[in-house]
Amino acid sequence: MTDPGSAPGGAPPVVSPIADLTYRHYDGPLNSRAFRFWIVALVGIRQVMRKWWFWLLVLGSVWPYGLIGFFFFLESRLGDDLPRTFLNAAPGAKYSTAFFQAFDWQMFWLMVIGLSVGAASIAADNKTNALQVYLAKPITKTDYLLGKWMGVFSVVFAAALLPALLLYTYCLLSFWSNGFLRQEPWLIFKILGASASAAAGFASLFIGVSAWSRSPMMAGAFSAGMYFASGIVATILWAALYGRSSASTDITNAVLVQHASIGGVLKALVWNIYDVTVRMPTPGRMFMPTDVRAPSLGFVLVAYLAIVIGGLVAARLRIRAVEVVTG
């Protein structure tokens, strides 16, 4: 008996390349639910990668590492003729200091990338009632939130990590014989940790704000306002408290206050991860550059966790399935 689906002569069944356009039940395979959040994340990533302005922001986040790489190149060519810069950091921390400096310059761009991706992520869904679509599918609120968070995190993480990895590869290939790996064997992990912690901080903050808005523009404006306002307040506080301090004053607290903002906390955490001494202008010393250590990790970690957990909890509270059907 001939199978109606098989071709004449016992050849394998012919599968039409054209889909049957008549609706019928789906009885094909189903993926496991474990990574359903990743589908949500992927869509967010794909959507942002189609925007031309995103690539401009990515370019902005690449140049600091390009500049540092250029300095390294000059140093390898000019040697001692190069003026004293961060490249002459303490022994064993030269590259960490350079990477931290590049991250410091890059951070603004990471914030803008995180803002442009994260502020719209849930707010845009709120605006178009997309939550009704999501939550009527077999995914949980946690899947949805994790997917949205992962979408922002992945973009910011990649934007932070890829240029750093490029510079790392350049250093590895160019300065291998100068003892690059021997001097700083943990640098690659520091780069990973710094990129991940900044990305997690930005993702949580912007997702948390986005969940409470029905307008991506408003969410973006509020997030940016919060970010910059906290920075301004911290700077004013720092200047007011320590602007008149004497040269003998312990500057540990001054540095802590200076970093008592959203951006400051993220930078301070990365500073702790790279564990370097930075030369920066200090009040009480006529703002002359002074060698400064990172703020206390304990305080920084508490503030960082408050940002990350606070953002996630705020978002989780707002994603409510009971609004799925109204009327």
Binding site: Y26, N31, R36, A124, V324, V325, T326
Partner: protein, 304 residues
Amino acid sequence: MPVASARDLIVKYGTKTAIGGLSVDIPEGSVGLLGPNGAGKTTLIKTWLGFLRPHSGSAQVLGHNAATEGLQIRQRIGLMPEQDCHIPGMNAVTYVAYTGELAGMPGNHALRRAHEVLEYCGLGEARYRQIETYSTGMRQRIKLAQALVHGPRLLLLDEPTNGLDPEGRNEMLRLIRDISRAKGINVIVCSHLLPDVEETCDQVVVIRDGMLVTEGTVQQLRQMAGLHMDVELREPSEAFIAAMERRGARVVSTLGSKCRLALPQTVEDPGQAVFSAALDTGAQVRALKPALRSLEDVFMEAVQ
């Protein structure tokens, strides 16, 4: 086996009771869920979807407990919400394929199904357009497409003809009829538009204040209490009416050559009574059938 059911279901929002002890079975086929605003229809749907936990009692959908197996239920049902909703920044085929992937379909299967379902819903030509540019009618269709993409066994349609022009409404009703009758998908239609329910549903469940008021097939509910007959004559005949009144009948209404008669319960064979009166008066009976009410009459009677 009912596709959805509730047993002594009590659902509360804080201290406010939205459903107070509802017991109902939704049979297979297409069922209209009717009730005035605040009747508890939406709360019942939320409970079936697993979004609200019953205060007491139980709710089941396709054999799954709604309180504990919400994900399994949502895997097997499709929801077409009342409100306009879509995921921004996508064209139709990407959107529908994405919702398929959310339901667990592998990407290539979801994309293929998205094309099929969009074609079925009449959006084949517009599948690559951004959803933001769609008209109201097209948005209703895409809501239906995303609910259908993963092959649900039960479709919950909340006001499916909202905002549609007559042509769009007819097309949507045709789709719903085809889904439930030709494709074998169970459908629950929540609508305030009773003609829509009448046109698409075999069964009707009416609830009010979170309680079941009445249920049954549309035909059963439309049948009038007592013995009512609709008679159509070739031409109006006063003599026929008088002859029927002599036989104990009461004229409920007349319209041209048609009249509705209420016959006494003592009449054993209404057809025999009508035809004998026509014979006596020389009237010619063109049509004779049991009188039916409109679903609107049934609804109004049930909720008042």
